[in-house]
């Protein structure tokens, strides 16, 4: 009896500990999925099952009909993810309540395109289009159109298109193949596009309007540039990815204001992928569409963005290049506290893993530090390297999961406080200029790798869609 107060208080202690401890079952399950990196559809479905099996407990995550409210579920997962170190984000949009994307192919059938799909050639152009269609999940709505002076529906089924060994032969006689009206084509594509639709123009991107006799090439380039700007500026909220591929070309080439000549060899062709920003993001992130934007045959690609993107990044606490000491503060923004330079050199070196994949820029551009602007008091310098599997260890896996590049900064730690700004400048990539020519009258020189007036056409699109001066900005606060 005299020990009763002790027993009562011990019970209070245990109850206190139990009340403080841990998370609910769903919290723990979400945490476990995020920490283990098992961010798959199966994992998402098991989380949804947990919710539907306990409707009383998780009623706030259910719709009035008793189904999982995927928007609320995503918010819940994000809330748990934001409490982790480093904060984690899982894009669950592909798994719940998001409609499949539809595909509309616009296949250019002008005279200059026919030599890309000759029986004796490698058939890279047709394969690229077939792959594009096949990379959409089975059951997706696919429409095919033939374009030249206008847009004409393909009269056969998708399966027949895939099997067609001589697509230009079977589509002979559709429209006027002597010129390509990009203004009309872009306008029609953008006008016809509905939410959730991905439109792809398959073309050599050579502007060949009607009746150009006596018109100077400069004038044509200016016209081309203006029409591209005008077409895309009218439609806000669009993203465009231009992919450059190489294909066998065998046949007559029609130069601008020149004598047609026979050419056999490689020539570039392009896939212009147009979609609403969110549909393009889904295309980039949803694994069901993998292969559409990252096809191995693509030699160069570029995404035209309309706004500065949010880039997900995490400080790497255990990294081979790290020098000196720092402690990552958790909360809003990137803050490195208690920074201390290396004992021998006095330098502070730290690395961030960043997901630059969503920008859809080619690797040459992303790893070229001259494309970045780095500002700080102590003059930090930047290096960028792509992440490969050899860098991933068990201990750093969760920091590198879903990330594409490592950004390493080195500087002399002198100031008590510093703010390092990293920005990727919004500029047309070098490959566009390198792939563009101002003359196509002969097959010599760089004819096999260049396209007449490409820089002017893509430059016009760039002007229309340039949202800000940078693709992204990262600010790192350093405190001693």
């Amino acid at each position: 009896m005299r020990r009763l107060p002790l027993l009562v208080m011990m019970c209070v202690l245990l109850a206190g500990l139990a009340a403080c401890g841990g998370h609910g079952k769903l919290d723990k399950a979400v945490r476990s999925v995020l920490v283990s990196g098992d961010t798959t559809r199966a994992a998402y479905d098991s989380l949804c099952s947990l919710v539907t099996e306990n409707p009383g407990k998780y009623s706030d995550l259910l719709t009035p009909e008793g189904k999982v409210d995927h928007k609320k579920m995503a918010d819940f997962i994000d809330k748990i993810g934001s409490q982790l170190r480093p904060p984690m984000h899982w894009d669950t949009r592909p798994y719940g309540g998001v409609d499949d994307l539809s595909l509309t192919v616009y296949f250019e059938r002008s005279g200059s395109m026919v030599p890309y799909d000759q029986r004796g050639g490698g058939g890279q152009l047709k394969k690229a289009v077939n792959d594009l269609i096949n990379h959409f999940p089975a059951g997706s709505k696919v429409d095919i159109n033939i374009v030249n002076d206008g847009i004409y529906p393909y009269q056969h089924t998708v399966d027949e298109f895939l099997k067609d060994r001589d697509i230009y032969q079977s589509t002979a006689g559709i429209g006027d193949a002597s010129y390509t009206d990009f203004q009309l084509i872009f306008n029609k594509i953008l006008e016809a596009q509905r939410p959730g639709n991905v439109s792809v123009l398959v073309s050599d991107l050579i502007y060949s309007p009607k009746d150009t006799r006596g018109v100077s090439l400069d004038k044509i380039f200016n016209e081309e540039n203006s029409l591209a700007t005008r077409a895309f500026a009218k439609y806000k909220g669009k993203s465009v990815v231009v992919q450059q591929l190489m294909g066998d070309f065998s046949g007559k080439y029609y130069p601008y204001n020149g004598v047609p000549f026979e050419y056999s060899g490689k020539r570039p062709f392009y896939l212009v992928i147009i979609a609403d920003n969110d549909a393009m993001d889904q295309l980039a992130q949803d694994k069901r569409y993998s292969g559409v934007l990252d096809a191995p045959a693509v030699s160069n690609s570029y995404r035209f963005n309309q706004s500065t993107s949010e880039v997900e990044c995490r400080v790497l606490p255990e990294w081979k290049d790290n020098a000196g000491r720092f402690r990552v503060k958790h909360g809003d923004g990137i803050v490195l506290a208690k920074c201390d330079g290396d004992r021998q050199t006095g330098k502070l070196c730290f690395s961030l893993a960043a997901n630059l994949g969503s920008l859809m820029k080619d690797d040459a551009m992303l790893t070229d530090v001259s494309n970045y602007e780095v500002k700080s008091i102590d003059g930090y310098t930047l290096t960028v390297q792509p992440i490969d599997q050899s860098m991933v260890t068990a201990n750093n896996k969760e920091y590198l999961e879903g990330m594409t590049h490592v950004l390493t900064l080195v500087g002399d730690l002198k100031s008590p406080r510093d703010e390092v700004h990293i920005a990727l400048r919004n500029e047309l990539p070098a490959w566009v200029r390198q792939s563009s020519s101002t003359s196509d009258t002969s097959a010599g020189g760089s004819f096999s790798t260049t396209t007449l007036g490409l820089e002017q056409l893509l430059g016009g699109m760039f002007d229309a869609m340039k949202g800000g001066s940078n693709y992204f900005d990262i600010i790192i606060n350093l405190q001693r």
């Binding site: 107060p5 208080m9 401890g21 201990n395």
Partner: protein, 151 residues
């Protein structure tokens, strides 16, 4: 009444210790030893609350055994109490280390050196909690209530 106040303070200190073991911004386990990668894993894998619970259970359990199971005049000297403190201060980090190592191994992680350094804190926390528990519960022991220091 004075003894009950000791008990309440002891419990409050212990609960506070547990709460500060679960928090993100200020975590008591990150005061004396900090290695960003290691501590982040400990936090993400929800190991801090378990480590804290093990330390509390071993410390309070050790005190309870001394004052109510051993509870003998043969063992009521201060060095008997100190021996139990020593056992607690060794047992708690060993159990915590085994738990750490098991969780890390299950997740494919390897932090042997860091875990050993980290568990040095457990020696300190277990000893402190044992003292707190001793002063919370000794008053109701029939034979050891004057240990370690007579009141």
């Amino acid at each position: 009444m004075k003894h009950l106040v000791y008990l309440i303070i002891g419990i409050a200190v212990t609960v506070l210790f547990f709460i500060l073991s679960c928090t993100d911004g200020f975590n008591i386990w990150e005061l004396l030893y900090f290695n960003q990668g290691y501590n982040d894993k400990m936090y993400n894998l929800d190991m801090y609350p378990v480590i804290a619970a093990i330390t509390i259970l071993v410390a309070w359990g050790g005190a309870a055994i001394y004052y109510y199971a051993i509870n003998s005049v043969k063992f009521d000297r201060w060095y008997h109490w100190l021996a139990v403190l020593g056992v607690v201060a060794v047992l708690a980090p060993v159990v915590c280390y085994i738990y750490n190592d098991t969780v890390f191994a299950n997740n494919g992680l390897m932090y042997i050196g860091e875990s050993i350094q980290f568990e040095m804190q457990t020696v300190l926390f277990a000893a402190l909690l044992f003292i707190v528990a001793s002063y919370s519960m000794r008053w109701w022991s029939s034979n050891c209530r004057h240990t370690p220091l007579p009141q």
